[in-house]
Subunit: 275 residues, 2 copies
């Protein structure tokens, strides 16, 4: 029986190849996936697009563009080119959503400089994205990633960055893992809906202790501190009702297990804690 609204981000079961992901989803009656660029590129873009299309899967997002904080002009130009390529890849895969991880603080720079560079890069890329029917989805990352991964740290800040652009060109990602702690989380989700900016809704749980480097500390749904259902309800009321919910968990324990078993568990947890 199909679980409504469920989309499996490929990183949740990273141990699966792209073909295993597609066949695993079909076997489990999962009809939507979120993809990452690297496995798609390795498999071949057109071939990957055909693989998911032929299996009847929809692609809810492509991850990721971004990393806009290069200071060297040549490096910056290369990054923008790479983002244009990512936009084209998203269009080819049939998704209208390219998730952006904006990048950390450049060597010798300040967090304020870095944030300005994100705004500048959006201005360069947004029209190109729009021409390809792709929306740039600014993802605020948890503040623990601010220095080295993403200087966009709150949903409110992401919305401020998106504000100058047409809603069909730039939106935001609402990811429970990154924003649950924010005293303003509910009002900012409501604002995101009101402003027509919600481009993606992702879920993972918050567990402690965090591992060294903190990147792989995300928890299976229901294992942690986040009120997943309450945040889903707020997001639905903000206009996301009926839209896909992507499960994106980076967790080495999940990666060490049988993929089908992880998917079965994740579907159960999703039904129990999110829907």
């Amino acid at each position: 029986m199909s679980v409504p609204r469920f989309s499996l981000n490929s990183q949740t079961i990273k141990q699966w190849s792209l073909e295993e992901l597609v066949s695993g989803c079909v076997a489990a009656d999962v009809s939507a996936v979120g993809l990452w660029r690297e496995p798609v590129q390795e498999y071949g873009l057109e071939r990957a697009a055909k693989l998911v299309r032929d299996a009847g899967l929809s692609v809810t997002s492509l991850c990721r563009g971004g990393f806009f904080t290069a200071t060297d002009p040549a490096e910056r130009a290369a990054k923008l080119d790479d983002n244009r390529t990512a936009i084209e890849e998203a269009a080819t895969l049939g998704t209208d959503t390219l998730v952006l991880v904006s990048g950390g603080i450049p060597q010798g720079g300040t967090v304020g400089d870095a944030r300005s560079m994100v705004a500048d890069a959006l201005a360069e890329l947004a029209p190109f994205a729009g021409e390809h029917g792709v929306r740039l989805a600014i993802e605020p990352l948890h503040p623990m990633f601010c220095s080295d991964r993403c200087v966009v740290s709150t949903l409110g800040q992401a919305l401020d960055l998106a504000a100058p652009f047409p809603t069909e060109q730039v939106g935001v990602v609402v990811d429970t893992y990154h924003i649950w702690w924010d005293p303003q989380v509910r009002e900012q989700i409501v604002r995101a809906g009101r402003e027509g900016r919600i481009a993606s809704f992702q879920v993972a749980d918050w567990i402690t202790p965090l591992p060294e480097g903190v990147l792989l500390g995300r928890g299976q749904l229901g294992d942690g501190a986040i009120e997943m259902r309450a945040l889903r309800e707020v997001t639905d009321e903000a206009g996301w009702a009926g839209r896909p919910i992507e499960v994106e968990i980076f967790n080495e324990a999940l990666w060490s297990r049988d993929g089908s078993e992880v998917l079965r568990e994740t579907l159960e947890r999703f039904t129990e804690h999110v829907l």
Copy 2:
């Protein structure tokens, strides 16, 4: 030569006993310290008060009260009693500032519940603190500590919690380590000054990768991403000019070195990156 405004939080050189801390500070011409309850209790409260007083040291803060998120009534009452004891200890040590680490999410509870419990506990403790000439200093902790250590995650939220109480009873801690990433950090520091709430200014730098558990990941001044001087200037302009700046770094590498050498280095870094 004395370094102006420098206060050494005892945890920065945790390898020192209380007597070593006092003699080490005197030898280095450091005239202010921030203390923690446990070493003071082990040494004896009155005896510790005499030790620092006789050495001519001022105590800029006592750390810590808080952990207000017990759900069991007896446990909650015990916590409040313990906070009253901490207030008395602060008064005995001659400091007017008790730092509060508010506590994480109670088992089975929500972050919203936990935040309400902090507000309730402040209401119970604030008048008692005022009677003892001690100010409760709400410390927002970095959002990575939200679930297990402190549900107060931003300076703005700390100020909202402090707002119902007289300024002489409840203030906030401005700690660069916890709040530097906040897109609103400058305006919230300005607000803290305008509202008369700055009770303590603490500094540590942000370095990555974070260690497992993240607690001991703080960096020596100048080693990380934080614009220490810029935040000091904002805080000074908000009304803190000339007041003590407490250096509070939890870092195992610093703890494994000779204390006097760490203090010498910290004084140099303080002069170079903060003043």
